[in-house]
């Protein structure tokens, strides 16, 4: 293989003109991989999209050698996996990288699989660890059986395999170098938009209506909140922080909320970034459904409630005294500009 063949590509995810976090973590993996493949080649970041993306040169600080940018109005819609895949595949056909790394999200899962189909190469998703043995063969670890077991795969595909890492295993990258990356514009080639699927419109989710499994922020009320009118405070809080409303089994049984909003063993399992548990004691049946939430706030009158074991912030207070104040403050935050708590 010549040096050019050993380029390690990483796919840059960006949103609203800024590079998203997991991308930086990929650079560390890419550098490690390049070293174990023999050190040649460039760590190349690939940016597909429409419109400028800030901070591409600074990718160099994290270890990328160059950045290929395809800026094309056909790439305006992020959900068009087919167009993106054809753009990426075309680019890969022209340059022939050693492999393409991605951080796994809903988007890249689609993109990776489609590009792999176009390139007729392997695609390995959910990778936790990637190693190269002395023969230059890639070995990947990934969870199987719903995360209960792990498998080690051997990738003998001669063509550039596409590897999607689980974002959780990507380390936070701290910028180290001083070298800026070289930014090269690339053309997209002849990819026609018609044929296949056409996105008619994208409906933004109303956070309150959002399915609790997908919501970023969930406000969950339990028996301690009360039924019917008492529960309105939870709706108000959810509106105030753009959260989705959920309940525990008593709330569902009282028909204060519909069944699809139940969290717990008999309901749904949620993994939001933030969950606010109000008036919930935290029985095992409930916590089984929410323990994967990233940040957990619990409000309960009983300081020894089990829910506090799961909480990053516990508040010992009466829901109906605390939440109205909190809602007022939050509503004030979005209504009037000087945010009182945001001054530092």
């Amino acid at each position: 293989m010549d040096a050019g063949m050993k380029d390690i590509w990483l796919y840059v995810q960006h949103r609203d003109g800024a590079v998203e976090e997991p991308t930086y973590g990929l650079t560390a993996e890419a550098r490690r991989l390049r070293a174990s493949l023999g050190g040649g080649g460039l760590v190349t970041a690939v940016v597909l999209g429409n419109g400028p993306v800030a901070g591409l040169e600074e990718m160099g600080f994290h270890g990328a050698d160059r950045v290929l940018v395809v800026d094309d109005e056909r790439l305006a819609e992020r959900c068009r996996g087919d167009v993106f895949a054809r753009a990426l595949a075309g680019l890969a056909e022209r340059h022939g990288p050693a492999c393409v790394l991605m951080a796994q999200t809903a988007e890249t899962l689609d993109l990776g699989a489609r590009s792999a189909a176009l390139l007729e190469t392997a695609f390995i998703s959910r990778v936790m660890d990637l190693q190269v043995d002395e023969d230059g063969v890639l070995h990947a670890h990934r969870p199987v059986a719903n995360g209960y077991l792990f498998e080690r795969l051997r990738c003998t595909d001669p063509k550039a395999p596409i590897i999607a890492f689980l974002p959780a295993v990507l380390a936070e990258s701290v910028p180290e170098g001083e070298t800026r990356a070289e930014v090269l514009a690339e053309s997209m080639g002849a990819v026609s938009l018609d044929g296949g699927a056409r996105v008619l419109r994208v409906e933004e989710a109303d956070p309150g209506e959002l399915d609790i499994e997908e919501a970023d922020i969930v406000v969950c009320g339990g028996r301690g909140v009360g039924r019917d009118a008492d529960f309105d405070i939870i709706h108000r809080l959810a509106r105030a922080i753009d959260g989705s409303v959920a309940g525990t089994r008593p709330i569902i049984d009282w028909q204060t909320l519909p069944y699809e909003r139940q969290i717990g063993q008999t309901g749904k399992t949620v993994m939001p970034r933030l969950i606010v548990n109000c008036g919930i004691s935290g029985a095992n049946e409930y916590t089984a459904g929410m323990e994967k939430a990233q940040v957990n706030i619990a409000v309960n009158t009983d300081p020894r409630a089990r829910i506090f074991r799961f909480a990053d912030l516990g508040v010992v207070a009466d829901i109906h005294r605390l939440l109205p104040h909190l809602c007022e403050r939050l509503e004030a935050l979005r209504g009037h500009e000087p945010p009182a708590a945001g001054k530092d």
Binding site: N284, R304, R306, R309
Partner: protein, 593 residues
């Protein structure tokens, strides 16, 4: 138990399968008799096996007569120890628990006054704790030492142990050879990394040769010496671990941290965060594939589970956690986490007593060290239930109520305050010692589950007690702060005591002269508490240095690092007046408001 996907999964260590991931790791107990395993040892370790831990690693068993760090050290190099070993291992094997022997030579971290032999070391040098110049080991000494390691290993095998752990940690000769801070040799045992490693490899080879292929052998590696003057670092430890794994002679890596330069890291106090060595263990685990043990202040099964889940370790060392509650593993398995008596790292019974040469104990668990008399199963319900009236629901009153109720007595517990906990609640207000409230938290949890008639806000008198027609009365009203520790005319608001400060009953001004007569938590903590609130605090103490009583508890360094109070020793405090404290050198005026 379904909460724990990893903690209660078995771990294969060499040829042995350990049923779960909880290791009662090596630590001093001082329970030995004539350098042999005693009955108290057996009771002590059996209690933990009964409690459900998967693995027990014994306290260090010394491999050579030249090594006697403390009077209670157990020997492993004479064949007479084997029956004791066998009694111990048989007792443990009655449960589904494995037991490993830890073999060690303390090297220069030992006491020649006790052994009457020169203290061995890689190079001449002085340990900060023992302060005895060591003898540089000759080639013959090194060979003899390896032989003795092998000999002791055969004794351990014969004694019925399931595996052997070699101590390369905070206090060991092999670590002294590894560390450039203590090894200054220029022969083949010193200098470069490979040369420093040589003794270690020889010891491991000797032990492996003595026990055969299949017997589990591992080491307790120092994850980072944190030596102020260039000792082993975490990167060195990674290199050592990777190198030793290559030999194929080891089955696991146990880890320790720090040396006697920084004993507060070996036995972290309340001031240290939970599981503080975990990042170091994770770093080592990332370069080896053998099981890696994780240690230091892991006192909660959920915490242990998250460490395992995050892949930061394969085995969880719990020492103080299991001293405080031997049944922690079983309680966690059964989902009774509420019942777990968590270690609060007060270090008073387990470490403080060790330093003073006493047998092991625990502030929270009276049974620790005396399991034969007070261990699990010894508390029997009484034949005739009696009525017990307890006055005062502080820790003592609560514990008394708990035990009495467990013995099926009918208990009435009076407390004059609105909540139970007594002075323990005040103690928890002190800066950096919030965890001490764990004592009360656990007791309250237990007492609530029992059938105890708790009467709050009830200040009793004799008639009230008699009205209950008690069979026994326990007065557990606690102590009061001394009002006049030294002569003179003084008192509030100019002179206040720590209780008044902590509870917010009385306020101090911005400049505080703090007189600390005992150097324990309450004094130092209150000084910190005041300093935290932006006051200028000047501490006077009759001891040589501030916080003198915190020394044996390994709490001094960290407490001191947090101090924003200036201090000075005051050898003598003369009678005070309302506004002045006369000192041996000059006097100080008390600010009046």
């Amino acid at each position: 138990m379904s909460e724990y996907r990893y903690l209660f999964s078995p771990l294969q260590i060499g040829s042995v399968v350990v049923p779960n991931r909880i290791n009662f790791a090596a630590h001093l107990t001082n329970l030995s008799e004539q350098h042999r395993i005693s009955d108290r040892h057996i009771h002590y370790y059996r209690e933990r096996a009964k409690g459900g831990c998967g693995l027990i690693t014994t306290e260090e068993l010394t491999v050579h007569p030249s090594d006697l760090a403390y009077a209670g050290l157990v020997d492993a190099f004479v064949p007479e120890v084997i029956p004791g070993f066998q009694r111990l291992t048989r007792a443990i094997h009655a449960y589904d628990t494995k037991i490993f022997a830890q073999l060690n030579h303390n090297g220069m971290q030992a006491d020649g006054k006790l052994s009457r032999l020169p203290v061995w070391g890689p190079s001449p040098g002085v340990d900060p704790l023992f302060r005895e110049m060591s003898k540089e080991m000759e080639r013959e000494d090194i060979e003899e030492c390896c032989e003795y390691f092998a000999l002791s290993a055969t004794h351990a095998v014969e004694g019925g142990f399931d595996g052997i752990e070699l101590q390369l940690g905070h206090s060991s000769l092999v670590r002294q050879f590894l560390s450039p801070a203590t090894n200054h040799r220029d022969d083949e045992y010193g200098g470069t990394f490979e040369k420093r490693l040589r003794f270690c490899l020889e010891v491991i080879a000797a032990v492996r040769g003595a026990v055969g292929e299949d017997f589990p052998v591992g080491i307790r590696l120092n994850a980072d010496e944190m030596h102020p003057h260039g000792g082993l670092t975490n990167v060195d430890a990674q290199r050592i671990a990777a190198r030793l794994e290559e030999t194929g002679q080891l089955d696991f890596f146990d880890l320790s941290l720090g040396t006697f330069h920084n004993l507060f890291l070996v036995e972290g106090s309340m001031h240290t965060p939970l599981a503080y060595t975990v990042p170091l263990a994770a770093a080592i685990r990332s370069v080896v594939s053998l099981p890696v043990y994780c240690s230091n202040r892991i006192n909660d099964p959920h915490l242990a589970e998250s460490i395992l889940e995050n892949g930061q370790g394969d085995m969880i060392n719990m020492v103080r956690a299991l001293i405080a509650d031997p049944e922690l593993p079983n309680k966690a398995w059964e989902g009774r986490e509420d019942d777990i008596r968590q270690c609060i790292a007060c270090n008073q019974g387990c470490i403080g007593r060790m330093g003073l040469g006493y047998t092991i104990g625990c502030m929270q668990t009276p049974a620790a060290g005396n399991e034969g008399r007070f261990g699990s199963g010894t508390l029997k319900a009484c034949e005739k239930p009696k009525k017990v009236v307890i006055v005062g629901a502080g820790p003592a009153g609560l514990e008394c109520a708990r035990v009495a109720a467990l013995r099926k007595h009918r208990v009435v517990l009076f407390e004059k305050d609105r909540e139970v906990g007594g002075q323990n609640l005040v103690a928890g207000l002190v800066a950096g010692r919030q965890e001490i409230r764990g004592v009360t938290r656990w007791l309250i949890g237990q007492v609530e589950k029992l059938d105890i008639d708790l009467r709050l806000e009830c200040e009793v008198d004799v008639d009230m007690v008699l009205a209950e027609r008690p069979d026994a009365v326990v007065v557990a009203t606690g102590s009061r702060p001394k009002t006049k520790p030294f002569a003179g005319e003084y008192g509030p608001p100019g002179v206040v005591n720590t209780w008044q400060v902590l509870t917010g009953e009385l306020d101090t001004g911005d400049r505080v002269l703090f007189i600390d007569l005992d150097g324990h938590h309450q004094g130092t903590g209150t000084a910190e508490f005041l300093a935290d609130r932006g006051k200028t605090v000047h501490v006077l103490t009759p001891a040589l240095f501030q916080g003198s009583a915190l020394g044996p508890l390994q709490d001094l360094y960290l407490a001191a690092s947090g101090w924003r109070a200036r201090g000075s020793p005051a050898p003598r405090i003369s009678p005070c007046s309302k506004s002045r404290v006369p000192l041996s050198r000059g006097s100080m005026s008390i600010p009046t408001r």
